[in-house]
């Protein structure tokens, strides 16, 4: 059974949106204060969760067709976006470990796509 490219695109799109979810959760965490009411009022967190839900709809659309052994590993590309956003929005530097890990992930994802062909 072959996994269609359109499913891979959907999963990648989902993980791209999800990476913005992480940015908003981080913003929300920075504004977090004690009481439950305050947490429920934290609109950064709300946006973050909404983006995660939106990303999961695309993920579900993607995994509906094709194999999980091909599609699930594609989620790992989300780390790349996360590292780029961390640099852009939170001034977290690129490190040797991040660049090395990132290259390994890209290579791994490429191998899985190659194994799907």
């Amino acid at each position: 059974m072959h996994t269609p490219a359109s499913s891979i695109v959907l999963v990648l799109f989902g993980s791209f949106i999800g990476s913005f979810g992480a940015v908003f959760l981080k913003l929300g965490a920075e504004h977090m204060q004690g009481s439950l009411a305050r947490i429920l009022n934290n609109y950064w967190l709300a946006i973050g969760i909404a983006l995660y839900l939106l990303s999961s709809v695309f993920y579900i659309m993607g995994v509906a067709q094709g194999q999980l052994t091909v599609l699930y590993p594609m989620v790992s590309l989300g780390y790349i976006w996360a590292i780029v956003w961390a640099r852009l929005f939170f001034k977290e530097p690129f490190t040797l470990a991040k660049v090395g890990g990132l290259l390994m992930i890209v290579f791994g994802v490429a191998l899985i796509n190659f194994g799907n062909a």
């Binding site: 959907l10 579900i60 999980l68 790992s76 470990a97 090395g100 390994m104 791994g108 899985i112 799907n116």
Partner: protein, 146 residues
């Protein structure tokens, strides 16, 4: 004068660290089972093959798809498990550095692959296996302090 909280703070940090490692490990197993449930659930959606282009052309498809997700039992269970996992993960990570636990979190890719083969009857091949090794290695390396 020393307050009781100041005295209590450093006690048992090693045991606490081991507890978080174990809890995160359990979380990866729960997360993998959740993925299998989600994949199984999509088999009962009956929405056919929708692409990103279809959604762009007919946004109504997206809303119909959302409705079918909400009413799907396996997807509900999968995401419920995912919620439980997130809660446990937050407990385990409280006051700890997430990046140090990346090597354990990356194991999820291994469990999902194993469960897909045994429960969903999917097939692995050489390139996919090596691909997983690189992804797990890459995610583990990300958290290093250099």
């Amino acid at each position: 004068m020393t307050s009781p909280t100041a005295l209590a703070a450093p006690v048992d940090t090693r045991a606490a660290a081991q507890r978080s490692f174990l809890l995160v490990f359990v979380c990866t197993l729960i997360g993998a089972v959740a993925q299998i449930l989600v994949k199984e659930g999509t088999g009962h959606l009956g929405a056919g093959h929708i692409t990103l282009g279809d959604v762009a052309r007919h946004p109504g498809l997206f809303f119909n798809f959302c409705i079918s997700i909400i009413t799907n039992f396996q997807l509900f269970c999968g995401y419920l498990l995912y919620g439980v996992m997130t809660f446990l993960m937050a407990l385990a990570l409280k006051g700890r550095e997430l990046s140090r636990l990346f090597p354990i979190i990356a194991l999820t890719y291994v469990w999902v692959t194993i469960l897909s083969v045994f429960l969903l009857g999917e097939h692995m091949n050489f390139f996919r296996s090596i691909g997983i090794v690189f992804i797990v290695g890459g995610v583990s390396v990300l958290g290093l302090k250099k």
